[in-house]
């Protein structure tokens, strides 16, 4: 936007040779928008940054103490690792499944029905999805009646019940993998994937429909197999859309809060940065550390945003 503004002003200057009343008018028109951005965006960001260098009740500056604590305490380290896990698995699975489903649903007669079924979770609120999946994952000890869908199915096939949201070792095998590769983390990520795959599929499917049929036909005439058509033609032509969907999902993964909060409240090492920030802020009233976590989250998001903005410009 600044660039747009300077261009506008430059063009005015070129015409008049000096600041003209017209450039003043331009500033005047921009003023309300700038005031909004200053009050609701710039001021809070700057103030959060300032608070992140202060103590719990923001009465004294304590240097980089809050940031040191964030990177040295076990709880925040785990939360950062969990966020990385969300970032990679959630994005990969949702985008990957989105591509596969977009291609497959485009080839069946009941396309709209299949798509609607996959897209519906997107219309459910995060909290409701969390509650629904809490029932799906519900656990009762062996010998009790199982009310959870997965454990009811599992025990009817002779498998032991699994506390999906509690246990860290891998289900059924009991293997312990290093943090954050825990069963409960994956159980939570699956809920996110369930919600967002539909979104990825719909956008990718629209883009798929935009690929000219002639190109695909030409490839088939030249003897390309369906597999080759997918890898050599569809995927490369979809890649700009995939990038947009992926960046949206990465931002979603970074600021992920609701699913974790509703389903485990961050217990059993499932905290992510956003839930930890909430706890620091509202449970411990430590504004400094909450601010530091908010700044870290913001800094992590800036590169993703930049890539997205650059893409729009191109």
């Amino acid at each position: 936007m600044p660039r747009l503004l300077t261009k506008l002003l430059e063009s005015n200057r070129q015409r008049a040779g000096r600041p003209s009343p017209r450039s003043l008018v331009a500033w005047l028109w921009l003023l309300p928008a700038l005031a909004f951005i200053a009050v609701f965006l710039i001021y809070p960001v700057v103030d959060t940054f300032r608070i992140s260098f202060m103590n719990a009740d923001s009465t004294a500056y304590i240097g980089i103490g809050n940031y040191v604590h964030v990177f040295t305490s076990r709880a925040t380290q785990d939360a950062l690792l969990n966020n990385v896990l969300w970032l990679s698995f959630f994005t990969l699975l949702a985008v990957g499944l989105g591509v596969v489903l977009a291609v497959l649903t485009g080839r069946v007669r009941y396309e709209s029905l299949a798509k609607a079924a996959i897209f519906i979770p997107m219309a459910i609120s995060f909290v409701a999805a969390g509650v629904i999946w809490k029932f799906v994952y519900a656990y009762s000890p062996e010998g009790f009646s199982q009310i959870g869908l997965i454990n009811a199915t599992g025990t009817s096939m002779g498998l032991p019940p699994v506390a999906w949201l509690v246990q860290q070792q891998i289900a059924y095998t009991g293997q312990v993998l290093p943090t954050p590769l825990h069963t409960n983390n994956f159980a939570l990520i699956l809920v996110g994937v369930w919600m967002w795959t539909g979104f990825a599929m719909v956008i990718l499917s629209a883009s798929l429909k935009g690929i000219p049929v002639e190109i695909i036909e030409a490839a088939r005439v030249d003897g390309a197999s369906e597999w080759q058509v997918f890898w050599r033609i569809l995927l490369p032509m979809l890649s700009p859309t995939i990038a947009v969907v992926a960046t949206t999902l990465i931002i979603q993964a970074l600021k992920n809060f609701d699913i974790v909060w509703v389903m485990t409240a961050g217990n059993f090492n499932t905290d992510v940065v956003a839930t930890l920030m909430y706890k620091q802020m509202f449970n411990f009233r430590h504004f400094g550390q909450a601010g530091a976590l908010a700044v870290i989250l913001l800094l992590a998001m800036i590169p993703v945003m930049l890539i997205n903005v650059r893409r729009f410009r191109a």
Partner: protein, 440 residues
């Protein structure tokens, strides 16, 4: 034509409004004139809502009728934050219902509270409240708070009919309780397991276990050590604290004691956990949780009779000299302003007559000795009230009296301990590290 009908309706409407206004003006003259000078409005800040608020309003109604004063209740789940903000802004409520004495002491020392001893009849207070409760409300020799609505956390719930059918006897000491637990495991009758332990409670998961530990601490090491622990003058790595954790671990982690073991304890909601001894067939014999458990059971199993199908026995004695130790909680009334309305209101709330109104409605345990035990709706609430009013060694739940960061670290520590009991030393030093910064 249409317009004239509209006009007539409008006219009728206006006449109606005027009539109502006239009636409203006339109304006050028909109500009986209050005997004393009419009092103003008193604003009360508290956490109550729903059923509890309705009961509180019922309790206040006679005062409003007698004095002509009115009570306006501001309910919030974020009491401390709202209170801090309003005090800082110079706009405190008239009265606040605080959940524990720690906050009250801080406010009293900061000079925010009105000493109640300046206008209450202290002879009457000392007669009606046992010394322990008066002392808890006193700071620097002045009474700042009246305790109302107490809860008792010295209760172990069991099914008297299952106990009778299996020939099990209610234990009175810790050793008897462990012996009974072992007996239940080896007998393999119904229920096959002695304990239901369930600690899931969303963000506050772990608190039921901290109640266990607080009660064990008070019964084994007494009030002084308990106070040092709460005030953090002994570290969390102290051998006595570790011992308390391990005694809780005996219950929660011994093979066969809890159906499904530690994972089930972690995954089961605390409220669902209280159902195990009372469902058909019962899955566990006993469950330790505060006196509010009666409400869970009564709602889930409306056909069960209190005292016959479900009951509690007092937490067993661990060390004989501390056998009177009971942990629990109580809401207290503190005043931020001093005027005739506030004085009259606090005076009224402290009386047995006022408290009996809520006692009869259920869900309220009074610590006023003048409240008749017959006012309690059933035998269980009566027993819990008796245990509380007679408690010579009462302590507030330890977690509620600690800084929020330490309490949360304790809850988290419980979850970690149930998953990895061998890590206990590391867990305790982690809580200690949190405590060191939080108590500064």
């Amino acid at each position: 034509m249409k317009r004239s009908i509209l006009g007539m309706q409008l006219l009728a409407g206006i006449l109606g409004v005027i009539l109502i206004a006239l009636l409203a003006c006339a109304a006050p003259s028909t109500t009986p004139t209050p005997t004393a000078a009419p009092l103003g409005r008193v604003e009360v800040l508290g956490v109550w809502g729903g059923e509890e608020l309705a009961s509180f309003q019922a309790m206040v109604a006679p005062w409003e009728q007698q004095t002509g004063g009115t009570m306006a209740f501001t309910g919030t789940r974020d009491l401390i934050a709202i209170l801090t903000t309003r005090i800082a802004a110079g706009n405190p409520p008239d009265i606040a219902i605080l959940p524990n004495p720690g906050q009250m002491m801080e406010l009293a020392k900061a000079g925010n509270l009105t000493p109640l001893s300046s206008f209450l009849d202290m002879n009457k207070i000392n007669q009606e409240y046992s010394k322990g409760w008066v002392d808890l409300g006193t700071v620097d020799g002045k009474l700042y708070a009246i305790f109302v609505k107490a809860s008792d956390k010295g209760t172990v719930w069991y099914n008297p009919k299952t106990f009778a059918a299996n020939g099990w006897k209610v234990p009175t000491t810790w050793d008897q309780m462990i012996a009974l637990s072992n007996q239940i495991v080896s007998e393999k009758k119904t229920p096959p397991a002695p304990w239901s332990v369930a600690v899931e409670s969303g963000q506050a998961s772990g608190w039921p276990a901290t109640d266990w530990m607080a009660q064990i601490m008070l019964r084994k090491y007494g009030g002084d050590v308990y106070d040092q622990w709460v005030a953090h003058t002994i570290p969390w790595t102290d051998s006595r604290i570790k011992d308390v954790w391990q005694m809780f671990g005996t219950i929660a982690l011994t093979q066969g004691y809890v159906p499904g073991g530690a994972i089930a304890a972690l995954a089961t909601n605390f409220q669902d956990g209280t159902y195990l001894p009372f469902q058909t067939p019962p899955k566990a014999a006993m469950c330790y949780l505060g006196d509010f458990t009666a409400g869970f059971i009564a709602t889930q199993f409306p056909n069960l009779v209190a005292g016959q199908d479900y009951s509690f026995f007092p937490f067993p004695t661990i060390a004989a000299q501390y056998s009177a130790g009971v942990t629990g909680g109580a809401d207290l009334v503190a005043a931020f302003k001093d005027n005739p309305t506030v004085r009259s209101f606090v005076q009224y709330l402290s009386t047995a007559g006022a408290q009996e109104i809520w006692v009869k409605r259920g869900g309220f345990t009074s610590v006023n000795k003048m409240v008749s035990l017959n006012a309690y709706p059933n035998v269980l609430t009566r027993d819990a009230a008796k245990q509380l009013t007679e408690a010579t060694l009462f302590r507030f739940g330890a977690g509620d009296s600690m800084p929020a960061a330490v309490q949360t670290a304790w809850w988290q520590g419980v979850l970690a301990y149930l998953q990895n009991p061998s890590q206990l030393d590391a867990i305790l030093s982690n809580i200690e590290a949190q405590a060191k910064t939080a108590y500064q």
